[in-house]
Every structure is written in C-alpha cells, then in structure tokens.
C-alpha cells in the first residue's frame, strides 16, 4: 500500500505502488482531533493487475461459453456407444453456433488466456506482489475464523494483512485452477504430443473430466468473488478499474 502523500509531494509520483504490502496500521489519533477526518484514497491495484484482470474476465467468459458449445457435440463422459447424455446444456449459454464455431473461439481465446496468465504471474513474481495473495502454510489457522465470520456470523477476525487468509486461499486456488485449465486443455487438444501430461491426469478421458470440473470450480470462484464484491461495496469495484480505493478504515 502506498502511503498517504504529503501535500508537497508531486502528484505524478503517486501511482507507483510499494510492491511489498505492509500491514494495515491505523493512524494514531492526532492531537488536533477536532479537524474532521475523511477516508483517504489508497492505490490498491497496479495497472498490470487491473489490465490482466479485465482481459482475463473477457477470456474466461468466452472460453466457458465456447467450451460448452464444444461439450454439446458429445455431452457425456462415458462411451460413445451407447451414448448417455449427462448434462443438457441450453444452447443459449454457448458461443460459436456449432462445433467448428465453438472451436474457433476456444482456440483463439485460449492463447489470449495463456498470454494473460503468463504476464500476470510474471508481474506478481517480479514485483513481489505475490506475497499479498499467495496462500502459505501460516495462513491455514486463519481460514476457519474467516469462514465462521462469513458464513456463520462469527466475529470478524482482526485484519493483519491486505487480504485475509480465506481471500488468499481463494485467489491462490483461482490461479492454480487457471494453470490446470490450460494443462488439461493442452492434453485434450494434443493428447499425443503431451502424452506425459495425459498420463499424469489419468489419460485423455480423465483430462476431459478434469477440464470440465475445473470450469465448474472456476464458476464457483467467480460467483463467490462477485458476492464478495457486492457485499463489500462499490469502492472495491471502482478500485479494480482506476486502481484507487477510498478506504473508510483509513482516515487522513
């Protein structure tokens, strides 16, 4: 988090975020407490993160819809003869019109998805930002209190980091799911060239099941993500656009 700028600082220097997050510390009550204090704006999301976020939003949407179109050509995980249709997917949810159309969208946006993912991961690593969102063993004890808070009206655990342990778990899982969606997709598209990957996944057949399962998991993540954004207000959404967030917990 960037510090509140002194008025003398040139404003142009503002958007360079300190890469390593420091714990959110409450400003000590100032002696001139009579002056009304307003929420300050913090620079929350550097532009590479925002750029990748929205590009990925588009790709994920297109890949899901065109993927369902491809799935419609054989909506089963069993044998072809006799074919047992597993799930009826309404064509309205799909993109591409027919199998070849779905494939075209899927193969084109697959590359955009991969490029976005690589750029994002590279940025997180080189900027050090990954420390904000990477779920590490010391976060494990903090997950349950957050779950209790969100789902069972438990007391809100004190904030010690930019993102709470449950959030870190969700973000780390989403990135992992992204990587796995690409790897399973590669096996489905080229099971011979990537036969070693196929073997790890239990073969071509299972890769198809995993690929679909990952879609379901990502849909769950997106739903949870949207619910949280709605619960936590408009400012959160705006900050993913402009980078700046009006933080009512930090007063200036």
């Amino acid at each position: 988090m960037s510090e509140t700028p002194a008025p003398s600082e040139p404003i142009e220097n503002l958007p360079s975020p300190a890469p390593v997050p420091s714990a959110l510390t409450e400003n000590p009550p100032s002696p001139e407490a009579e002056v009304p204090r307003r929420p300050i704006n913090v620079y929350e999301h550097p532009w590479p993160v925002r750029f990748c976020h929205w590009l990925n939003t588009v790709s994920l949407f297109i890949l899901s819809a065109s993927g369902l179109r491809i799935f419609l050509a054989f909506p089963s995980f069993g044998p072809k003869v006799p074919q047992k249709t597993l799930i009826h997917i309404p064509p309205a949810l799909t993109l591409g019109g027919w199998l070849a159309g779905g494939l075209r969208w899927h193969l084109t946006f697959g590359w955009i998805y991969v490029a976005t993912g690589l750029a994002y991961i590279a940025y997180e690593i080189f900027s050090g930002n990954f420390r904000q969102i990477l779920f590490v063993p010391r976060d494990i004890p903090g997950v349950w209190p957050m779950v209790r808070h969100y789902f069972f009206f438990g007391r809100k655990p004190p904030e010690t980091e930019t993102y709470n342990p449950l959030q870190k778990l969700a973000y780390t899982s989403a990135i992992l799911l992204g990587v796995l969606s690409v790897l399973t997709g590669m096996v489905l598209f080229n099971p011979v060239q990537f036969s070693f990957l196929a073997a790890l996944m239990g073969g071509f057949h299972w890769a198809r099941v995993w690929h679909f399962g990952i879609l379901c998991a990502l849909v769950l993540f997106v739903i949870g993500h949207l619910v949280m954004v709605i619960l936590h207000g408009w400012n959160n959404f705006l900050s993913m656009l402009s980078g700046w967030k009006r933080d009512p917990q930090r007063l200036g």
């Binding site: 958007p15 704006n41 532009w47 750029f51 054989f74 494939l103 084109t108 198809r208 656009l241 200036g252």
Partner: protein, 239 residues
C-alpha cells in the same frame, strides 16, 4: 492530508489510470461482424502452426493392449454422407499422381505386398469421444517410397468414393504410425469403416483419417484443405 479523488488533480489521475486500460477496447474487434471471422480464422491458423511446431516425428502415439480395445461393435461409425459408397472391391484401384516417379493405378494386392503394421491406438473424434481401435495396413511412408514420391513435397491429398477429401502434411504422412489401413481388428476393413483402404493417423484428429480412398496425390499446392476444414475446422489438427 488526503488526496481526494474529487479534486481536479485526483480526477486527472483517475482518468490516466483508466486510460491505461484502454488497449482492452481492442477486444471489441471480435464484436465487429466483418472482423470477427478473419480474427477467429487467424486464431485457428496460429494454433495449427503452433501444434505443427511441437509435432515430433519420433514421438509415437501411445499404444494399448488388446484387452483395452473398444469392441468393434462399440466403435462409432461417423460419416458425413453415406456409410457405404458402394465401391466395387474387385475393380478398385488407388490412383496415384503428383510429384511421384511411378504414378498410376495401384491394386490392393500391390499395397498389401508392402510390410504390414498393426497397432492399437486411440482414435479421437473432434466431438470429444474416443475409442481404442486396432488397425492394420502399410506405412504411408513405405508406400510413398514404393511409388517414388518426392518426400520434400509439402502435402498428401486424397479423394474418397463418397466425395470426401482430405489433406495431410508430409511430416505426419512420414510418421511411422501413419497407415494406409486395409485391416481393422485383424479382418478386412468393413464397408462402413472405409473399405477397401483408408487413412489411419494416430497423431491426427479423427476427421483427417479419410475412408474409401480412391486417389492419392503428392503435391506442394492444395486445391482444398479438406471436407470439414473448408467449413471451418482446423486444417492441421495434430493430436
């Protein structure tokens, strides 16, 4: 001490931050009807190019034990038109043309005189289903040597008795598992699976393995890419 976004400087800052996302608007090109198809076609072309780059002629498709075979009765027959184009098997010949030293008509007996290869490999349909199937025949590579084909040509182009047609890149044609198949499950090809001769390509998607072959041309220039490819499916589609 705060920088209120509502003040003039803050607003220009927000604007600048938003402008940095503007390249995302380029994605809107996919929504323009005139641009959409060319963009998607180049996406498929790029995918085809990339997968041709990671194709290795020495990398064999996994093979399977006889016990893992999909029973012949459960091997789905996919045709675009007819299951049996009504070939007279007795008078059938394969017409070979193009960049070959010995063009002409080749009988099934001539083809069968070449070394026979049989393998159990996975057949993958573009629809998403797969089957472990057993095919026998001659290596396309051996046949190309037999007819004196120029191996530096870029493509093989085949036509079929049911008016289906296909193309195959030379690298895949020379793959040791790529067959001109005349047998399946140790018996002559059935009518609906492509008698008397078909392609069997374990390193390609199913629709590339054309059935009921009638002509084979070695060429650098393709008149067409293939029946499904010309309707929008990927032309290379290696597995």
């Amino acid at each position: 001490m705060s920088t209120d976004l509502k003040d003039r400087r803050g607003r220009s800052l927000t604007r600048r931050e938003l402008l940095r996302l503007s390249p995302l608007l380029a994605l809107g090109a996919f929504a323009i009807p005139k641009l959409q198809l060319p963009l998607l076609k180049s996406g498929v072309k790029f995918t085809d190019w990339a997968s041709s780059k990671w194709f290795r002629r020495t990398h064999l498709a996994p093979t399977f034990a006889d016990s893992e075979l999909t029973p012949l009765a459960k091997f789905y027959v996919n045709t675009y038109d007819v299951d049996d184009p009504g070939i007279d098997l007795n008078s059938w010949v394969l017409k070979v043309s193009g960049d070959v030293q010995r063009p002409g008509d080749y009988t099934l007996a001539q083809i069968q005189a070449l070394p026979k290869i049989t393998h159990n490999t996975r057949h993958v349909c573009v629809e998403g289903w797969d089957a472990i199937v057993r095919f026998g025949g001659v290596r396309i590579s051996d046949f190309l040597s037999y007819v004196g084909a120029n191996r530096n040509s870029r493509f093989i182009y085949v036509e079929c008795a049911d008016d289906y047609y296909e193309s195959l890149d030379m690298a895949t044609a020379l793959h040791p598992q790529s067959l001109l198949a005349y047998e399946m499950y140790d018996r002559p090809l059935t009518r609906e699976h492509g008698a008397p001769l078909r392609l069997r390509l374990p390193t390609k998607i199913g629709y590339k393995s054309a059935k009921y072959l009638t002509t084979l041309k070695v060429t650098d220039i393709l008149p067409k890419a293939g029946y499904w490819e010309d309707q929008g499916y990927p032309a290379y589609y290696g597995l």
